[in-house]
Symmetry: C2
Subunit: 203 residues, 2 copies
DNA sequence: CAAAATAAACTAGACAGTCCAGTTTGATCT
DNA sequence: AGATCAAACTGGACTGTCTAGTTTATTTTG
């Protein structure tokens, strides 16, 4: 009926992006609403009119960033060369888990898992569970097609993914000064893929 | 001539314990010096006289708790039954990483790794690196004694330990509502030990 | 014109760190 | 042993800063 003016969707996105930046970079407590508003180029009041409270904004930000996490995208057409397929998967996985975005949101969700279990659950579902499911499907296909002998595809997926994290993930998690070279990482991945294939070889 | 009265070591310990409790439970920012003093049954001034600042107290607390982390304690005498040895190791490792103390300090060190790299480094050295080293020694012995065929003991240790974390660790890290049953965990560990042995079996 | 957005001031509470006035403690000196 | 003295300790008040969230008066815009 009356021509009601709707809130500006662009501003909502600006606020959300600013919130994502600050929350993931600094954590919940250290990110202030004043700065979020300022970085969004928006008044503080507008922030509160779009998102009722800091908590609400936090949820929305984490939800948004989890939804946008790009994931493995496995193609499962030609599995005849498992060595090649699995190495690619391992390399792709390494890229994903070392991306700045994924690391930041992982860190904050793990830290706030006590105070905000909803938030860490969103991440858990969106990232590790989702990826493990994808990989488990691949494992199941490798078994079906008698390329590898994998009794329990879910276990195999967990083993594979956790294994590939290796030392690199610890170094990122604890922000160590020294880092593995890309060569060392690649060596580890290749070693691990070979090991995986030996462990699940058809006998 | 000059009067020397030394600070009360008991109070220092009370303060440190209180700080460890609060920092590990609530994180650096959320733990207030007032509450630390109160829980230590000590005046705020005494806290500042023993530890100059909140940062100093934080470092001391993390250092203390890392030093006290009990670790694997492998006995490497009779390795003739690798299946048994490795399963025990896996079970012991699972206990260690699921202990409340280890989880709390892991969480806070990972979270503060940006703002306080010294702190996360202390943990990194004290826990994951130390354990991996221990296990790598075991792997090397298994190779020497021709029980398993392990080219790269360091890689094998990383593979083994990361693999054993499995789904359980993710659930703890993200404080999920649903948890694996002890039976499910044990099944996974046994599966993984078998897989590991197959992958590194002597031809 | 009415809803949306703005800037800026404001409230109320928390926190790190300091200050202070008075009390306890324990080592040293007589 | 008793007097002395400096340092440790106490509790509470205080400063300055920061924060979430609110209010208000004004401007923009569909």
């Amino acid at each position: 009926m009356v021509n009601k003016r709707s809130k500006n969707e662009t501003k909502r996105k600006q606020i959300l992006n600013s919130a994502i930046d600050l929350f993931t970079e600094q954590g919940y407590a250290a990110a202030s609403m004043d700065l979020i508003a300022k970085n969004a180029d928006v008044s503080k009041q507008t922030v509160y009119s779009h998102f009722g409270s800091k908590d609400d904004l936090f949820f929305a930000a984490i939800e948004q960033v989890c939804a946008s996490l790009h994931i493995l995208d496995l193609s499962m057409d030609d599995l005849s060369d498992p060595q090649h397929i699995l190495l690619q998967l391992a390399q792709r996985f390494t890229e994903v888990i070392t991306s700045k975005q994924a690391c930041s949101v992982h860190k904050i969700c793990a830290f706030e898992s006590g105070a905000y279990p909803q938030v860490s659950d969103i991440f858990y579902q969106a990232a590790p569970l989702r990826v493990t499911n994808e990989v488990a499907q691949l494992m199941a296909k490798l078994h079906e097609q008698k390329i590898l002998n994998i009794d329990n595809a879910w276990h195999a997926a967990l083993q594979f993914l956790n294994m590939m994290k290796g030392e690199l993930w610890m170094q990122i998690e604890f922000n160590t000064k020294e880092r593995l070279t890309p060569q060392e990482v690649d060596d580890y991945l290749r070693d691990s893929v070979d090991f995986f294939i030996r462990g699940y070889a058809i006998k």
